[in-house]
C-alpha cells in the first residue's frame, strides 16, 4: 500500500481554509446535506445573509453540474442510476469564499465551457443580468440551456470572474476546473 500521510493531508486542507470537500459520485441527498451544512456553518460565523445565499447558490449550481454533466459516471449503490463524479471544495480565504469544482469532461464540451466563462467575464453586472434574462426566456430545449444559465447565475452571484482550467487527460477527455469567489463584503453592495 503506498504511503499516505493523513496528517499532512489534514493540515494542508486546514492551511488552505477548506470548509467543505467532497470527492466522488454526487447524489441529491449528499448535495442537500452539504448545502445545509454550509448554511449552518456560515450562519454560525455571522456571515452576511446575502453572502451565505451566494455561496449556497454557487455551490448548488456547480455541484449539480457535476451530478448531471460529469463524464465520469459511477453507481453509488450497485444497480442504481449512475451519478456524475467529481470534486467540490469551498475554501475560506481572506477576501471571502472560494468555490471550486472539478470533473471529467469531453475536451470539446470543456473548451465550450471555458469559452463561455471567458465571455461572461467580460460583461458588467447590467449586461450579465440582461443576458441571464434573455437566456431564461429563450425556448431552448430543457437541459441544453441549463448549463449556460447555471454559469450566468454563478457569475452573477460571485465576483463575476470565473476561473477555468482544462487539463487534457487523453485526446478526447479532460479534467475541467471551475472556480470563483464570493466576496465577504458582497452584503454591503
Amino acid at each position: 500500500m503506498p504511503d499516505f500521510n493523513l496528517y499532512k493531508y489534514y493540515s494542508e486542507a486546514s492551511e488552505h481554509g477548506i470548509l467543505v470537500s467532497f470527492q466522488g459520485p454526487l447524489s441529491q441527498d449528499i448535495l442537500a446535506e452539504l448545502a445545509t451544512m454550509i448554511r449552518d456553518r456560515l450562519g454560525g460565523d455571522a456571515v452576511h445573509r446575502r453572502v451565505i445565499h451566494n455561496v449556497f447558490a454557487v455551490f448548488i449550481e456547480l455541484s449539480q453540474n457535476i451530478l448531471l454533466h460529469s463524464a465520469e459516471k459511477t453507481c453509488i449503490t450497485p444497480g442504481s442510476q449512475p451519478r456524475g463524479a467529481g470534486i467540490i471544495l469551498i475554501r475560506a480565504v481572506e477576501e471571502g469564499y472560494v468555490i471550486t469544482s472539478g470533473n471529467q469532461v469531453e475536451m470539446i464540451a470543456g473548451e465550450q465551457v471555458c469559452q463561455r466563462c471567458a465571455t461572461l467575464n467580460k460583461l458588467d453586472s447590467a449586461a450579465l443580468k440582461q443576458q441571464y434574462r434573455r437566456q431564461l426566456h429563450s425556448k431552448s430545449e430543457v437541459g441544453s440551456g441549463s448549463v449556460h444559465l447555471g454559469l450566468m447565475e454563478i457569475a452573477r452571484r460571485s465576483d463575476q470572474q470565473l476561473y477555468t482550467q482544462l487539463v487534457p487527460l487523453d485526446s478526447d477527455m479532460g479534467f475541467l476546473k471551475i472556480s470563483t469567489i464570493v466576496n465577504r463584503d458582497a452584503g454591503h453592495e
Partner: protein, 124 residues
C-alpha cells in the same frame, strides 16, 4: 378535478393545490435534480384546473431558494398563468419573501417585470 399535493423534500418544495379554492401554494427550497420533471405535473394541474370551468387561480410562492432550472420552470408556469390572465381568467401571484431577504425579493421582481400578471410582492 382533484387536489394536488407533493410533500417537501430537502431539495424540493411542498406543493398543495386545491380545486375548490383555486389556491396553489409552493413552499420550501427548490433545487430538484430535474426541475422539468418536478414542475410538469404542477403545470398540467393548472392547465386542467383553468380549462375545466374554474375561473380563478391564486399562486402563493414562499420559497427561500430556486436553482436556475427551477427558476426557468417557474417562468414557464408564470407565462402559462399570463396566457390565462389574457383570456380573462382571474389569476394572481402572491410572492412572499422574508423581510431582509433581498435575494428572493429580487427574483420575484425580475420575474414580475417580464410577465403581464397581477403580482404581489409580500414581505413577512
Amino acid at each position: 378535478m382533484s387536489d394536488f399535493n407533493i410533500p417537501a423534500s430537502k431539495y424540493s418544495p411542498e406543493i398543495n393545490a386545491s380545486a375548490l379554492t383555486g389556491i396553489i401554494r409552493i413552499e420550501g427550497s427548490s433545487y430538484p435534480e430535474n426541475a422539468y420533471e418536478f414542475y410538469t405535473p404542477v403545470i398540467d394541474w393548472i392547465k386542467t384546473h383553468l380549462s375545466s370551468g374554474s375561473n380563478s387561480l391564486t399562486l402563493d410562492v414562499q420559497v427561500d431558494y430556486f436553482n436556475t432550472s427551477s427558476t426557468k420552470m417557474l417562468l414557464d408556469l408564470l407565462e402559462l398563468l399570463a396566457q390565462f390572465h389574457q383570456s380573462d381568467k382571474d389569476v394572481a401571484v402572491n410572492w412572499y419573501y422574508e423581510e431582509d431577504d433581498e435575494d428572493i425579493r429580487e427574483v420575484g421582481e425580475e420575474l414580475s417585470e417580464d410577465i403581464d400578471l397581477p403580482f404581489n410582492l409580500i414581505p413577512y
